[in-house]
């Protein structure tokens, strides 16, 4: 009844092709932004920042990155963890080598370095597809983790191979290191997530995104209509790696503060991010956020519910939590194989017809 486009007149092409054509959607989007930027920073505490919102935003960025590559351009990648490690080690080397430069620039540069590395590992995609490409990117995952373990230069020759983020400030507020406050960490991650999601949305509905989707849907047909597969595939790898690199840099510098490549950026991380986009929805910006929310927030919520409120033993709760999350993944994928984003779209379509479905 309320949720519909009737009465919402568009008088220009620009209005007609906007991201949220329905007024209620638009308002909802502005409201979420207003709450995220205007209210949350003032009420957030350490637990909410470090255990809930910061990891959610960082994983959302990583999922966005992988979604560009896998969801939009159709190139399956299992190297996300390795590319995140590149971002993390790049930002670590930059932070320790050039302490006077702003950390935001370092994070962006780390994304750029990851983009170059991603480009290199994307080269095989010109010859191989599907599962074979997945295996090639898996090699990238193992090679990069091995490299960061093996070459002491990357971890500044520390005895244990751990990298630790020094304190760096943005506008005189510490955002990395032990003294960083909850709102500062949250706001940095939020700004990155907001800008990158906006960039991703606009890239994917422009020429570049259409080329990616053409390649995804049928690469031979795309080539015949004039899409250069070399540029389309490699640009997808570069942009995706840029996002993933920024996620890795934030994960290490802002969220964890100290990391070790095998544990923080192992193959599990690659699968986690891949599951996020599969559950959230391939080829959807909202899906990246939904998938990250599902896999980051749900375990924390269940833990607090089972151990905190119900007082269950921690081991029982941890096992049940795995079972519940696993069962929900199966359930969601049976109900809607195209992920939470598709579920959301269907809900909205039903809402538009409500209360007179026909």
């Amino acid at each position: 009844m309320i949720y519909r486009e009737a009465g919402d007149f568009k008088t220009s092409y620009r209005d007609d092709s906007q991201t949220f054509p329905i007024r209620l959607d638009r308002w909802g989007y502005y409201a979420v932004l207003a709450v995220a930027f205007g209210i949350v920073p003032f009420v957030i505490n350490d637990y909410w920042a470090n255990a809930v919102l910061v990891p959610f935003l960082i994983y959302a960025i990583a999922a966005l990155g992988l979604n560009i590559l896998t969801g939009y351009a159709g190139q399956v990648s299992l190297g996300t963890g390795g590319f995140m490690a590149v971002g993390a080690y790049a930002v670590y080397k930059l932070m320790t080598s050039f302490p006077e430069v702003n950390v935001v620039i370092h994070i962006l540069l780390a994304g750029g370095i990851t983009a170059i590395v991603g480009l290199l590992f994307g080269l095989p995609s010109l010859r191989i597809k599907g599962f074979y490409l997945a295996v090639a990117t898996l090699a990238a995952q193992f090679f990069l983790v091995w490299l960061f373990n093996k070459v002491p230069w990357f971890y500044n020759y520390s005895a244990s191979g751990q990298i630790t983020a020094p304190t760096r400030t943005v506008l005189d507020h510490a955002v990395t290191g032990p003294a960083a406050s909850a709102p500062a960490k949250y706001l940095v991650c939020l700004c990155f997530a907001f800008v990158l999601a906006w960039v991703a949305r606009n890239l994917t509905r422009g020429t570049l995104g259409r080329k990616w989707m053409a390649i995804r849907d049928m690469d031979i047909a795309a080539e015949i209509i004039g899409v250069d597969p070399l540029r389309a595939k490699l640009s997808a790898f570069a942009v995706s790696s840029f996002f993933v690199g920024i996620a890795g840099a934030l994960l290490f510098a802002v969220y964890l503060g100290a990391a070790e490549v095998g544990e923080a950026f192992g193959i599990n991380k690659s699968f986690l991010v891949l599951f996020m986009i599969i559950i959230g929805g391939l080829g959807s910006i909202f899906g990246s956020f939904a998938g990250a929310a599902f896999l980051v927030l749900l375990p924390v919520l269940l833990k607090n519910l089972l151990v905190g409120s119900l007082g269950w033993p921690t081991d029982l709760a941890a096992h049940i939590e795995l079972m519940i999350v696993g069962a929900l993944i199966v359930l969601f994928l049976i109900v809607e194989p195209h992920g939470l984003a598709r579920l959301w779209t269907l809900t909205k379509e039903k809402l538009r017809l409500w209360p007179f479905p026909h």
Binding site: N149, L256, G257, L297, L305, H319
Partner: protein, 427 residues
């Protein structure tokens, strides 16, 4: 889901906070995942000792001890979540039982003012209290362990190691990499050849490392493993028929759960330990009366008296003694985390005190100071007897090689101080 989530978590967090008056000593445990076989007994021992104090003595200095548990699964991200959740309960001290989580917490606890107690693990150079104000790793650390293992090998070989080959099989993480620098120095000093064999976490896959051992035939193998890597390594060593009495594990690779799966083949395997083994201590009678028989044992209650159970209880004992000291210094029984730190720094556990506590000849005397947060680092060797199914202590406490270790610790802590911009204290 998005709308209901904040409300639910807020409610859950509120409900989890304990009464404020008690002393809170959290148990950051892991009872799930690839490290659970080792995490469970430790967590049980840690919790049971405090249950005993609460039941028998009514806590410490009249204050009950709360031991909220948080599952980390040996995972740093869950460790962060646990740390943030526990921080709001005003803990006196944290014992994460994970070197990775310890590295992550060291900068944070300095800012938040919470002591970190990492007995036998964590960052070795935290022994230097002048730099690591809030971290304590008495009675022994990884480098002590490496040095004691080499001393034992020296003993076996009649004091000469020149031309011998020693292989280090290690968990490829901060934990496993810790002893490398010490062993390199020791290999220079004693003239043995060191081979490094990393095993990637969690460590089920180590066929190639053991094939290499079979090919190169090192005289001794030292192992720094944890969790599932222990059981697999023991089995692989049995498979290639490596002489078990030349296979020495660090104290984290020497529990019943690690050797049992390899059956009779594991007989003669050696491991370090910094405390006694078995249940022949008066403390166990008290534990039986006040905890087990009362049905208050933590977990399934089937880990009593195992190596890691003892170690968990020992960690709890040192913390309890530090609380006592802190109460004495502060003149009040309701101490804060900062007073707890002072208690740790003035901690003095003599052999007589250990006897009073029901654990005669169990652990070495511990005496800490502003400079020394790590104790003397003595360790002994235990050997597995597969037919009896128990560990036997085969040496007395062995002193580590301070000549090698002290300069290394100084260098590493100085590097940390410079990196973190700290000025050493204690002058």
């Amino acid at each position: 889901m998005k709308l209901t989530f904040p409300a639910l978590v807020a409610a859950a967090v509120m409900a989890a906070a304990p009464a404020m008056a008690d002393l809170v000593v959290p148990n950051m445990s892991y009872r799930t995942g690839p490290y659970a076989a080792n995490g469970i007994p430790y967590a049980d021992g840690f919790a049971d000792y405090f249950t005993l104090l609460n039941e028998r003595d009514g806590g410490i200095g009249g204050q009950l001890i709360q031991v909220p548990e948080c599952e980390t699964a040996y995972n740093t991200e869950k460790g962060v979540e646990c740390y943030e959740a526990l921080k709001s309960q005003n803990p006196l001290v944290l014992n994460p039982l994970s070197t990775g989580i310890t590295y992550q917490l060291i900068p944070k606890i300095g800012v938040d003012g919470i002591p970190l107690y990492t007995p036998g693990y964590g960052r070795t150079s935290a022994k230097d209290g002048s730099v690591f104000e809030w971290v304590f790793n008495a009675p022994a650390n990884y480098w002590d362990g490496a040095s004691v293992a080499v001393k034992h090998i020296l003993d076996q070989e009649g004091g000469d190691l020149s031309g011998k080959k020693i292989a280090l099989v290690y968990h490829n993480s901060a934990y496993g990499k810790e002893p490398i620098r010490t062993l390199e120095e020791l290999s220079e000093k004693h003239g043995f050849e060191l081979t490094l064999l990393p095993v990637d976490a969690p460590g089920q896959e180590q066929k190639s490392q053991w094939l290499q051992i079979r090919r190169e035939k090192p005289d001794y193998v030292i192992m720094y493993a944890w969790g599932v890597m222990n059981q697999v390594a023991l089995q692989e060593a049995v498979n290639i028929r490596f002489p078990m009495d030349k296979f020495i594990g660090i104290w984290w690779s020497g529990s019943e759960n690690d050797v049992r799966p390899a059956g009779a083949g594991a007989d003669g395997y050696k491991a370090l330990t910094f405390h006694g083994v078995g249940q022949d201590y008066p403390l166990y009678e008290d534990l039986k009366t006040h905890v087990y028989d009362a049905g208050k044992a933590a977990g399934a209650g089937d880990q009593t008296g195992t190596v890691l159970y003892s170690r968990g209880a020992y960690a709890a004992l040192v913390i309890a003694e530090a609380i006592r000291k802190a109460q004495e210094l502060a003149g009040t029984s309701e101490i804060t985390a900062a007073q707890m730190r002072d208690g740790f720094e003035a901690l003095e556990i003599t052999a007589e005190r250990m006897e009073e506590l029901g654990l005669p000849d169990f652990g070495q005397p511990i005496s800490l100071s502003c400079e020394n947060h790590g104790g003397d680092g003595l360790a002994r060797i235990q050997q597995w007897n597969a037919s009896e199914g128990k560990w036997n202590l085969i040496t007395d406490f062995i002193e580590p090689d301070a000549e090698i270790l002290d300069p290394l610790i100084k260098a590493d802590s100085a590097a940390y101080a410079q990196e973190a911009g700290l000025t050493p204290r204690c002058n």
